[in-house]
């Protein structure tokens, strides 16, 4: 019995390998990484960006960025990665050459894999926008994650904020129909780290990632500051 099973496996093995190889080759040809820049522990350009991450929190951390596309998308996405302590930064453009939908893994050609593995998911901000031109500011945000999320209901928003009070509200497609109050949370200071790149997180719980349309952040610092509105990719 055992020898036959073994021979069966040995016959199938090369077949499997070939299939896997063609599949991965096909993927690699389909989607591509371009304009990758990264720096670790160097002086980096001051960006002044407010938003530094939009990601699922319930993950087994792995240095493998994943993006969630609620509907089919074809074209470039712009990826920004920054660590809270400001030691790591990178940005690149990743292009989907075919319409893609759902949770997808994307390439991340970093050479600092060992350093990045030392971080926890809350210390490494991942921000992705779907837009044609990464130098413009009109993209729609995608929710990402480090590794495959175990659930897609908890989302963290990382901010570099000078405000005394930031309150995030998430709006969905069916808020008006369900008559459920939109989820509103107060953004908290990220303690215990030395925070350079971002210093606050807003943890949104019980979110339906497929229905999110926008996140509004109301800010106050001894005066009302203009709301920050994050339009999400639909």
């Amino acid at each position: 019995m055992a020898p036959t099973r073994l021979s069966c496996l040995t016959m199938i093995k090369p077949l499997l390998a070939v299939t896997a190889l063609t599949a991965s080759l096909g993927l690699a040809q389909a989607n591509q990484v371009s304009e990758f820049t990264e720096s670790y522990s160097e002086t980096v350009k001051v960006s002044g960006q407010f938003l530094k991450g939009l990601q699922f929190t319930d993950v087994d951390y792995a240095v493998a960025p994943h993006l969630y596309l609620p509907s089919a998308y074809q074209g470039p996405v712009c990826i920004y990665v920054s660590s809270a302590d400001g030691r790591y930064k990178s940005q690149y453009q990743y292009t989907f050459t075919e319409p893609t939908e759902g949770l997808v893994s994307i390439e991340f050609p970093t050479q600092y894999i060992d350093e990045l593995e030392e971080f926890s998911p809350g210390e490494l901000g991942l921000l992705a926008t779907a837009q044609q031109d990464c130098s413009s500011l009109n993209g729609n945000y995608l929710v990402g994650s480090w590794g495959v999320p175990k659930s897609m209901t908890n989302i963290a928003v990382f901010l570099r904020s000078n405000a005394r009070r930031d309150v995030a509200t998430i709006l969905g497609n069916n808020d008006s129909e369900n008559k459920t109050a939109p989820i509103t949370v107060k953004c908290q200071d990220l303690r215990s780290n030395y925070r350079v790149s971002y210093d606050k997180e807003c943890v949104l719980q019980g979110v339906d990632a497929s229905q999110m349309t926008r996140v509004i952040i109301k800010r106050r610092n001894l005066r009302a500051m203009p709301d920050e509105v994050l339009e999400l990719f639909q």
Binding site: D189, Y194, R220
Partner: protein, 314 residues
């Protein structure tokens, strides 16, 4: 049969217990011979008792040394000149109430201001930030973890309920100085952040680490560790709340002093690895005179016993 067994056990143990006194000696005996000679010496009962006491002493010293080395009850005394301190409540214990006189309140951290006087009682689950850049006003910001109120102010005739974010501006000068008591979990110093030209930071300070002596039960102090410009310091896994106070006058920043207990002190710096401050086994042993004395006493007792035995068996 039983007594025979007991005797063998006793003889074997005696051989083992006496054996230690044969070390570093030029006595021409084997351990068995050594034991037998002691067993036949005139003062054999005294020798047996003394050697038994010696072993008990050794066991006791090893026991208290181990207990001493493994106790996490390290006390940290911190003094610093800093522009910012953040205070959180320790395991939901209460904050110290503050008496405020004629301070400007920025309701909901917004632009609406009013002058208030009264006793400020901060609710649990609130983070308190006290900031003062240079000789500017002192800013107290209260922010709750959720959207719950941060506490209330009891004035002479009313109780003002506060919102989830409140800021208070205090004017400090040479003849209008403040001493604010603080209880809770402290973080002193701020971060140098990107996209900002001026953040409140720590100027200088020192952390003295103290441990309790094993025998005396009193704290002894080791050399204080200096905090440098821009350092951030907190106590990791505090076992009790830290307590201290803040003094503000016309000199820049705030003078802060507090003490607390915990596993270790942590210093964080801009784009650098954390520095952990704690007493090592050697600093602990070297600074506890009573324990050192006990070990010395043990060595002296060892030599004396050896001498007494030798005199007796020859």
């Amino acid at each position: 049969m039983k007594s025979f067994n007991f005797k063998t056990v006793f003889r074997k143990t005696a051989k083992f217990l006496f054996g230690i006194f044969l070390t570093n000696e030029d006595l021409p005996y084997s351990a068995t011979e050594f034991r037998d000679r002691i067993a036949q010496s005139p003062l054999r009962w005294l020798l047996h008792i003394l050697v038994g006491l010696f072993w008990l002493l050794l066991a006791y010293i090893v026991f208290i040394s181990l207990r001493f080395i493994t106790t996490p009850d390290t006390l940290y005394n911190v003094t610093a000149r800093s522009e910012i301190i953040a205070i959180d409540s320790f395991q939901n214990s209460a904050f110290v109430p503050w008496q405020l006189e004629g301070v400007t309140r920025y309701s909901q951290c917004g632009s609406e201001t009013s002058l208030v006087s009264g006793q400020l009682q901060v609710a649990q689950d609130t983070s308190v930030y006290i900031e003062r850049i240079g000789t500017d006003s002192v800013w107290i910001t209260l922010s709750s973890a959720t959207l719950a109120p941060v506490g209330f102010i009891q004035t002479r005739n009313e109780r003002i309920e506060l919102s989830d974010c409140e800021a208070f501006e205090l004017q400090a000068s040479a003849n209008n100085s403040y001493t604010l008591p603080i209880d809770g979990v402290m973080t002193i110093g701020g971060e140098v952040k990107e996209a900002s030209a001026r953040e409140p930071i720590l100027h200088r300070g020192s952390v003295a680490i103290s441990d309790k002596g094993a025998w005396s039960g009193q704290y002894y102090q080791t050399e204080p560790y200096a905090l440098e410009l821009g350092d951030k310091f907190f106590i990791q896994n505090p076992s009790i709340q830290s307590s201290g106070f803040i003094y503000v006058d016309d000199s820049p920043g705030m003078q802060i002093t507090f003490n607390g207990k915990g596993d270790a002190g942590v210093i964080q710096r801009y784009k650098s690895e954390d520095i952990i401050l704690k007493n090592s086994i050697w600093t602990k042993l070297a600074h506890d005179e009573s324990l050192l004395f006990l070990w010395l006493f043990l060595v002296a007792a060892f030599s004396l016993l050896k001498f007494v035995i030798r005199v007796n068996i020859e």
